[in-house]
Amino acid sequence: MEQYLLDFDLKVMAPELVIVSAAALLSVMDLFLKETASRKVIAVLSLAAVLAAGVFAVMGFGHPPYQILGDTYRIDSFSLTFKVIILAGTALVLLLSLHLNKEEIETREGEYYYLLLTAVLGGMVMVSSADLITLFVGLELLSLSSYVLVGIRRKDLKSNEAAWKYVVLGGVSSAFILYGMSFVYGLTGSTNLFVIRDRLMQALYSGYDLFVYLALFLMVVGFGFKIATAPFQMWTPDVYQGAMTPVTAFLAVVSKTAAFALVMRIMLIAFLPVFSPQISVGVEKLLMILAALSMIAGNAVALKQTNAKRLMAYSSIAQAGYILVPLSTLGFVLFPSLAYYLLAYLFMTLGAFAVLDVVTREGKNEELHVFAGLHQRSPWLAFAMSVFLISLAGLPVTAGFFGKFYLIINAIGREQHWLAGVMILTTVVSYYYYFGIIRQMYFRSPASLRPIPVPWTAGLVIVVGVIGTIGLGLLPDTVLQSLGKIDWGSGFDLAKNAVRQ
């Protein structure tokens, strides 16, 4: 018996449906609002839609995995957790964007908000798909929206250039991913991840192993671009610098999280046969080398940055390296540690970007010395930034410390001591540039003593960031245990209601 859309409980797709209808309605609404009317209402409605979608996503927990639309789309604990992280990140980004004024987005204010919605919709499709075609469509929806978001300031040369670099390198990476996917399809005759898993096993044992590795290699190159690991990271600093700060925060947090979920799905379902111990070809080694390279390159180049956003870009490259550690080692606490780190990363990065946005906007400058003497101007802002930087550097008692600690446990548990060593060494190197900013804030004299005005929305993001960063750091075990209770394995098993058994 075939199944069709109406047979399914549409409730399971509620988060996506909320976002897609909001994006469609708001784009029409933007057209028919008066030219002079404020677009704040669109911003508030998008925020409401994202929050509603988040509530629906949380309500979806506790059910067995469920596959719909001909097995192409699945709702399980894995996808729901990632959806919640993505939606939380987007909500904070939206909050941070609320005080952007018309001039800054060059009267494209409405577009900015619904492009964010379509981008997050793409991210949600990515984390929920069990089929190469839907995965690809989700990835492209996220990417295309991001290209436009990066270039939304049409009159700003930097923004244009950043968008151009992003679209070219994004296009190339999509082509690599697709070329890899085409070989996977050729070997397995299917785009369903579970069918691929079974048939790749056969392909490996019947003399097609080289094609399997070729496909894997092409896809790793493509994903390397998308999650910005070295040596495919060259677009990151330019794009992060050229985009508006909230957009940069979106790319750093939401896009990266969604891309990681995608990589995990493809690696741990479709390419699982390649990871099996009988076939030791060093795919894990390849990923570990990528992770190590990102940590080294990101942290080393960050040392000589003077632009705050470029520094954050290199920092995010290094963070991508850390996040790759549990996946490449297939550690014992892979999912809980990864989810913990992604949560910590969400709070500290968004918080840091919020402070950066407020400070650079006031100073009309993105160089690091705008932070000079922040302690004397706005002590609370300086305190919050210190918390985020200490957490990013990975010192106790913050979320970043325990996050890194759990990530390292994966490497040590699998006896990959060299990887743990690289991680610790590069972390120590990173102290230098993170503390460079703290030094600026506390030991340099400010250009003026005027306190920095903080809009309440940005203030809220900063407060949420501080609470999240310190809260995760104070209760790491509780959080990790509750994350461990999530049924992660269900994300990688065929659902009971699958059409193809």
């Binding site: 075939e2 069709y4 859309l5 109406l6 469609a24 784009s27 029409v28 057209l31 028919f32």
Partner: protein, 124 residues
């Protein structure tokens, strides 16, 4: 080696397609008088005297129209497979097949309204 009959059709069309212009131009060349002059070698531009370089920059508006055309043109590609299986699907699912495509078209229409309101469809 025996050839597929459908390949023979293609071969015949191929030969005829090449032969026709060659023969037509060849006969013309044999029959016509040959008296070249300066006026005759001028580029023909609908009877108007040719001016300027042929490498002119196109108005950027052409690009906008082209972009819009490409997007909407390519989206129709999804209508064809749907139309092919429409009858067989309708027997199983009823009018829901139609509703699904209408949802898709609704989004295209939103795109069109968007372009319209943004005055991309007007030539200024």
């Amino acid at each position: 080696m025996s050839l597929d009959p459908s390949l023979m059709h293609i071969a015949v069309f191929f030969i005829v397609g090449i032969a026709l212009p060659v023969v037509a131009l060849g006969i013309g060349r044999l029959l016509r008088p040959h008296q070249p002059s300066a006026d005759k070698s001028v580029t023909y531009e609908s009877g108007v005297d040719p001016t300027g370089d042929s490498w002119v920059q196109f108005n950027v508006r052409y690009y906008l129209f082209a972009l819009l055309f490409v997007i909407f043109d390519v989206e129709t590609v999804f209508l064809y497979p749907w139309a092919v299986v429409y009858d067989s699907l309708r027997k199983e699912m009823g009018l829901f097949v139609l509703a699904e495509m209408l949802v898709f078209l609704l989004f295209l229409v939103i795109g069109l309204i968007y372009a319209w309101k943004k005055k991309v469809l007007e030539w200024k």
